[in-house]
Symmetry: C2
Subunit: 132 residues, 2 copies
DNA sequence: ATAATATATTCAGAATTACGAATATGAAAA
DNA sequence: TTTTCATATTCGTAATTCTGAATATATTAT
């Protein structure tokens, strides 16, 4: 176990916070929630430009907050540590928001099979195969 | 109960995080801990300029993170919500730090009667009065 | 190959924040 | 009232971050 200075430790503690401390990043993390989301899903869910979302995702990945998984031409993102949602909820409580208000916003689907216009055709074809 | 948009809620959730998301602010909050600290105490504890510390304290006060209490010419700061330390510990855990590493840094004295050069004379006089 | 779609990256200017220097305020002591 | 000590505030610039425009890459379909 290495000896660490207080500035070093404070730096380490602050790192995840600086990565997520913005309304945009919080919105993205809630939209991913305990499930998984591709970029195009976030695009329609949040109504932002694709490049803008990718930039935030990149930052969150570098900060070791998010994990990515490629499946065909889709890339699915998920939280690396589910406890991050507790941290977000804790911050919400400090702002006077109820835990319910937050949990109502958290996406819970493990594999959402993206509902957005671009992704839903894939979902439909899977369903139609099952029915056949 | 008012209806709130997702951007509004994300903004509210992010507010406390943006206020504390910096190594300096984390160091200050740990130095205050569950106790109380005057500015001159933080000055020696952290080794920073007084004005610099005051600036951070001001920001934390505006963000409703800290509470201040004047006693003579000293101003003592304390956390408004002790749960903030849990949030800090949670962030530390995300960085791979143990909860013990963090708790070892947290000031626990309720009224530290500041040990720094400027404050300790006051402490000594109180002690000497008791002895008399 | 070429085209189309999903996502990533680079770049630049705007906006914000960090931090130091200087100075102001407020309480108490002389 | 003047001085002193503790703390607060203002101001200016350096550094960082945000965000949009443009473009690149990777995968699948044709």
């Amino acid at each position: 176990m290495k000896k660490q200075t207080i500035p070093q430790i404070s730096e380490q503690i602050a790192a995840p916070l600086t990565a997520i401390a913005s309304p945009q990043r919080i919105a993205i993390l809630l939209a991913i929630g305990t499930g998984e989301a591709c970029v195009c899903h976030l695009e329609t869910a949040l109504g932002w430009r694709q490049a803008y979302i990718s930039q935030h995702l990149m930052a969150l990945r570098k900060a070791d907050i998010l994990q990515d998984r490629r499946e065909g031409r889709y890339v699915f993102y998920r939280l690396k540590h589910a406890s991050l949602l507790d941290l977000i909820t804790a911050s919400a409580r400090l702002s006077g928001l109820s835990a319910e208000t937050v949990s109502a916003l958290i996406n819970t689907r493990v594999n959402p099979s993206c509902e957005c216009p671009q992704c839903s055709p894939a979902l439909i074809s899977v369903e139609s195969l099952k029915a056949a």
